[in-house]
Each structure stands twice: as structure tokens, then as C-alpha cells.
């Protein structure tokens, strides 16, 4: 087992143990309905987490995603409700708008050599402000297509169902995983986050990759906005406040190194699920203040950052130690886990 997967394994263990802990405490927790709820309720975060993973893998950050969700919902509500634009056309428009905005931010980050934090922070204010200028009220979207899309479900046993928005999230996750781990673009992103200078020397197209990363992140944020507008059937300028921070937390809990260069798409998804799990636990309990969600996420973040730091130090020590034969992959002795036993 590659030790690079250690943070991901830690995330999987936290999720499984957390779920079992909840299931032991509450009836109805170990049901398909709870799993389906986790997927549906966190679909909009799951989608932006995919984009955010690319951004963080490349050593950047994107603070504008929450605002883009709000902006998208408001624009959709106005386009569809007041201007009577066909919803599909409106979806295409916001996706193009989102992608272009992200590409713009990526270009500014690359060509002006500015920190992504500042560029995306201004993007966040700009877009949120625009959303408020369009409307400060929550606007309902009553188009029949929205009801139809919300009715597209896969029925699962137990009276529950997999909703369309959950399916969208899973598809995005699948594409994101392939893109990150099996394509040239993904390799470039990892290289960029690992070491920018050596990536450049190796011939990674820095400009194109940077712009693509932020365009992708904003595009997915716009898609997440569409999902959010389906989720609430409304457009609201206050939607998605603080979602960017929840997403960054999810990506880091998912084992992606905040300084870039290491991580796994699946981990980010599990990070989102862990956050959802904590929220569900608190609703099931019904007596705890919901602000414990933030405390729990904070504690988890600390744990994972600590773990990352520890691993980085260990890796660095190993790398500088006199080279030993075999990096482990081929050597059977390295698989130190207990052998399967026959009962």
C-alpha cells in the first residue's frame, strides 16, 4: 500500500467509525434513507468540493465558490421567472458565465503573479455584491421543469430515493476522479502543486493549467448553483454563505495537502460526507446546539492538519535518509498488516 494513501485511509476510517457510532446511538440511522439524504443534502457541496480539490491540489485556494452559488440562483430566478428564458438556455448561460469568470480569475492569478487568496476574495465580494444588486429578496422559481427535474428519482428500498441532484454530484465526482488521477491534466495539477518551479522545468504548461483549474472550479460552482436552485426552488442572494470554507475544510479532512501536490478526489467526497454526518448526528440528537457542527469540524481539521504535518516530516526524513532498496511497492515484506486468517 502506498503511504501517500495514508491520509485517505484515515478519512475512510473516520467516516466508517463515525457512521457506526451514530448507528449504534440512534435507530433509523443505519438506513438507506439516511445515506440518500446525505447524498442529496450535500450534493451542492460535493460538486464544488471536486473543483476545490483541483484548486488545492495545485497549491491554490478559491474563496469565490459560495458567492457564485448565490449569484447563479438569483440569475436563474430572474432569467426564468421575469424574463421567461427557457430553463435549459438559462442553465447554459450561467455555466458559461461561471466558467468565464473562473478563467478570468485564473488569468489574473497567473499573469499578474497574485496570490489566489486575494484574487478569489475579491471575486467573492464582487459576485456576492452583484447578486444583491439584482435582488435582496428570495425569489421563488415556479417553472414546471423544476418540479419535473425534482421528480426524477431512482427509488431505493426503504421508501427513499436517489434524487437527480445526488446523481449529478456522483457523476461529477466520477469525472473529477478520472480527470485528477488518470489524465495528463491531472498530472499537471499535481506537479504544479508539488513544486511549481520543477513543474515548469518539466514542461508543464503553467498558464493553461492554472486558468483551466480556476475555470473548472467556477464552472462547477455554477453547476452547484443550478443544483442549489433545484434544491430550494428559489434564488436568494444570501444562499451559500460560508460554503467555501466548509468545502475547503472538507477537502483538507479528505486528506488533500493544503499546500498542494498530494491528495485524492475520493477523500474530498468523504470529507463532505463527514461534515454531513456530523450535522445529521446533531439533528438526530435534537438537544445539542447546532454550533457543535462547527466545533467538531474544527477539531477534525486540526487532527488532519496535524496528521499531514507529521507525514510530511516523516516523508522528508525518509527521503533524505540513505536510500534503501525498494520503495515498498514490490517488496512483499512491506505489507505489514495482519494476514487474513482462516476461521
Amino acid at each position: 500500500m502506498n503511504q501517500r494513501f495514508l491520509p485517505l485511509i484515515a478519512t475512510i476510517i473516520v467516516f466508517v467509525v463515525g457512521y457506526l457510532f451514530c448507528a449504534l446511538q440512534f435507530n433509523h440511522f443505519a438506513t438507506l434513507r439516511v445515506v440518500m439524504n446525505l447524498l442529496t443534502d450535500n450534493a451542492f457541496i460535493g460538486i464544488i468540493a471536486v473543483g476545490m480539490t483541483f484548486v488545492i491540489l495545485s497549491g491554490g485556494i478559491d474563496l469565490s465558490v459560495g458567492s457564485i452559488i448565490a449569484f447563479t440562483t438569483v440569475v436563474l430566478a430572474v432569467l426564468i421567472g421575469s424574463w421567461h428564458v427557457n430553463p435549459w438556455v438559462a442553465f447554459a448561460m450561467v455555466l458559461v458565465l461561471g466558467g468565464a469568470f473562473g478563467a478570468g480569475m485564473g488569468a489574473i492569478i497567473h499573469f499578474f503573479q497574485l496570490p489566489p487568496f486575494i484574487v478569489t476574495l475579491s471575486g467573492m465580494f464582487l459576485v456576492r455584491g452583484l447578486a444583491f444588486v439584482i435582488s435582496t429578496e428570495s425569489i421563488p422559481i415556479n417553472h414546471p421543469l423544476f418540479a419535473q427535474l425534482n421528480d426524477i428519482v431512482v427509488v431505493v428500498p426503504g421508501g427513499s430515493h436517489l434524487t437527480l441532484i445526488a446523481m449529478v454530484m456522483l457523476v461529477v465526482l466520477g469525472i473529477g476522479t478520472v480527470l485528477a488521477h488518470l489524465t495528463r491534466f491531472g498530472t499537471n495539477v499535481f506537479a504544479l502543486g508539488g513544486n511549481r518551479v520543477s513543474a515548469q522545468l518539466m514542461g508543464v504548461p503553467i498558464a493553461r493549467t492554472t486558468i483551466s483549474i480556476y475555470a473548472l472550479s467556477s464552472l462547477l460552482a455554477a453547476l452547484s448553483g443550478i443544483v442549489f436552485s433545484l434544491y430550494t426552488a428559489a434564488g436568494y442572494a444570501l444562499a451559500g454563505t460560508g460554503v467555501e470554507l466548509d468545502t475547503i475544510a472538507a477537502v483538507v479532512i479528505g486528506g488533500t495537502l493544503l499546500s498542494g501536490g498530494a491528495g485524492h478526489m475520493l477523500g474530498s467526497f468523504l470529507g463532505v460526507m463527514i461534515e454531513g454526518l456530523i450535522q445529521t448526528y446533531i439533528s438526530f440528537d435534537g438537544t445539542l446546539s447546532s454550533w457543535w457542527t462547527k466545533i467538531a469540524i474544527g477539531v477534525l481539521l486540526f487532527m488532519f492538519i496535524g496528521l499531514q504535518r507529521l507525514l510530511t516530516v516523516v516523508w522528508a526524513a525518509k527521503a533524505s535518509a540513505p536510500s534503501r532498496p525498494a520503495s515498498g511497492k514490490a517488496a512483499p515484506a512491506d505489507a505489514a498488516g495482519p494476514r487474513p486468517q482462516r476461521a
Partner: protein, 321 residues
């Protein structure tokens, strides 16, 4: 692998325990309350009162605080559906966007009660009933009290709530209805104090200046207690005695107005009860027992409070807020 086996065993154990526990708890009603947050004293009081009312009736109340976010409210509704609660109470943070999730509740045959605020929907069958106060009645009660108190002769100044807020419009409409039929009861000045103490004080100061230092004003009607408390301050600073030289009447029933009444500086307050859950619990129990659906709108009690009970009411309330 060892680990895998262990996890499977644990998961199976969890399922078994879950099933056993589900079989046990059957007769006690469980209600999930999706609360907006704790943004105001009144909201916090509503949460506390809901807990007390649930305890009184032996109902298991689960509360989820949504931190003013709709997505959190939707998530909470879904987890309450997953838990199979007997009813969901919802204090909606915004009026729109509830149809998909309330449809899920309806499919799961869980009745939804709206507390304190209404929602915008084309399908009224998505909720069983809305328990809210009647803001027009509150205004009317205030107007009628003042008409009686002054024998139908008084120059009134009015401190309005936030411009365009439905509560403010309704409280104004009701008050005008309450004083109708008394030609000598006149609203001589009206302006918005934005529901805040500072706003109430500022507007009252300008009223006092404009009306001969307050000598022409016989009473001040405020759309909420906070503005009235600000106005009382302004009256005192102008050298007049609030509650005597200028009568006060306002709406909400927050602890500080009872304090002012017990000190003789305020005359009356119409309560907006934080007990929205009590009537909802009663409607739920009746619905579960006999299957009779409550009316689509359950109005909470509107009650006028006067200085004679102010001290007792203040001590009763100060821990709630």
C-alpha cells in the same frame, strides 16, 4: 481481513439494536422542531417555551437550530423524516423554496406545522396548519384600549415598524380599525422607527419638537416594545413624564416593557406570545387521536397587559428572554 470482518459484525449489531429500539418506543410522540436560530430575544424565548410545553405534554421534542440558513433547515427536515418523527414543526427562515422537501414529508405521511411565519406555496396540502399570531388583531386591541382609556379623545403619534414589513402594515391597519368611530381620536403624526430602540427614540424626539414640546401629544403608539422604550427615553429627556403626560401603548410583551410598566413609565403592551408550539402540540394530539385536521390557520392568543400585573409578568419572563 480482520478489520473488514469486525466492521461487518459491528454494522449488523447496529442494525439489530436499531430494530429493537424502534420496537420499544411507540406511544410517546416525537416532534422535530426546525428553528430558524437564536437571532432575537423573542426567538430564544420561543425555543425555551417550546421545550417547556413539550415537557408538559410528555412529548419528546428534538430541536434543530438552522443558524439562519435555509439549506440547514431543509437538511434538518430531511433528517427528521429519516428518523420517522410523528410531526415536524417548521419556523421558515424565508417564505419560498419549501415545496420539494415538504413533498417528501408528505410522502412519508409526516404532518408539518408552520410556526410563527407562513410560506409561499401553490400546494397548501404540503402543511397541516400554520400557527401564527394575528397582527391585525394586535393593532386593533391596542387601538380599542386607547379609545377606552382616553374616552375617545386623544392626539396620537405613531411609531411604525420597518417600512413595507407585513407585520408593520397589519399592526397599523388593526390600530386604525380599533380607533375607528371615535372622531376625536386622531393620529397626528406617523413615521418609521425601524423596530429599533434607537429609531424609536430619534423619531419621538422629532415628534416632541414638532408638537410644541410634546404638549399636543396625548399618547404614543409603537408597533413594537423596543421602539416604545426608545420613545419613553425621549419623553423623559424632554422633561415630561411618560405614562402620565403622554400615554404609551405598544406590542410584543418583552421583559423590558413590563419593567417600564412596573415603574409607571408605560401604560400597556399587547403580547405577541412566544408560545407558538403549545397550540401546535394540542392540534397534533387531536389530529393523532381522532384524525381531525386543524384549521389551516391557528391564531395564537392576543392578550393585553396592564401595569397591575407587570411586576409578576416581568419576573416570569426575564429568564425566558
Amino acid at each position: 481481513m480482520h478489520l473488514k470482518k469486525l466492521m461487518t459484525t459491528a454494522a449488523l449489531a447496529a442494525l439489530a439494536i436499531g430494530a429493537a429500539a424502534a420496537a420499544q418506543a411507540a406511544d410517546k410522540l416525537t416532534v422535530g422542531f426546525v428553528q430558524i436560530g437564536a437571532e432575537s430575544g423573542w426567538r430564544a424565548a420561543e425555543t425555551k417555551v417550546s421545550k417547556q410545553e413539550a415537557d408538559k405534554r410528555g412529548i419528546d421534542l428534538k430541536i434543530s437550530d438552522a443558524q439562519q440558513k435555509q439549506e440547514n433547515e431543509i437538511k434538518a427536515i430531511r433528517s427528521f423524516i429519516a428518523q420517522g418523527v410523528d410531526a415536524i414543526f417548521l419556523a421558515p427562515v424565508v417564505a419560498t423554496g419549501w415545496d420539494p422537501v415538504l413533498k417528501e414529508a408528505k410522502d412519508a405521511k409526516i404532518p408539518v406545522f408552520l410556526l410563527d411565519r407562513n410560506i409561499e406555496t401553490q400546494d397548501k396540502s404540503l402543511y397541516l396548519t400554520a400557527v401564527t399570531s394575528d397582527a391585525v388583531l394586535e393593532g386593533r386591541t391596542a387601538g380599542q384600549w386607547l379609545a377606552k382609556q382616553t374616552n375617545g379623545k386623544c392626539n396620537i403619534v405613531e411609531l411604525q415598524g420597518t417600512v413595507g414589513a407585513s407585520v408593520a402594515l397589519d399592526r397599523q391597519k388593526g390600530f386604525v380599525e380599533g380607533i375607528a368611530g371615535h372622531p376625536d381620536l386622531k393620529i397626528i403624526r406617523t413615521q418609521s422607527g425601524d423596530f429599533t430602540r434607537a429609531g424609536g427614540k430619534q423619531v419621538m424626539e422629532s415628534f416632541l419638537k414638532a408638537e410644541n414640546g410634546g404638549k399636543n401629544i396625548c399618547a404614543v403608539y409603537a408597533h413594537n416594545d423596543d421602539m416604545e422604550i426608545g420613545a419613553i427615553q425621549a419623553i423623559k429627556e424632554a422633561g415630561l413624564k411618560p405614562g402620565k403626560d403622554i400615554l404609551t401603548i405598544s406590542i410584543d410583551g418583552v421583559p423590558d416593557i413590563f419593567k417600564a410598566m412596573s415603574e409607571g413609565e408605560a401604560n400597556a403592551s399587547v403580547e405577541l406570545t412566544p408560545n407558538m408550539a403549545g397550540p401546535a402540540f394540542d392540534a397534533l394530539i387531536a389530529y393523532k387521536k381522532s384524525g381531525t385536521a386543524p384549521p389551516k390557520w391557528v391564531q395564537t392568543e392576543t392578550k393585553l397587559y396592564l401595569p397591575d400585573t407587570a411586576t409578576a409578568e416581568y419576573t416570569r419572563r426575564k429568564d425566558l428572554y
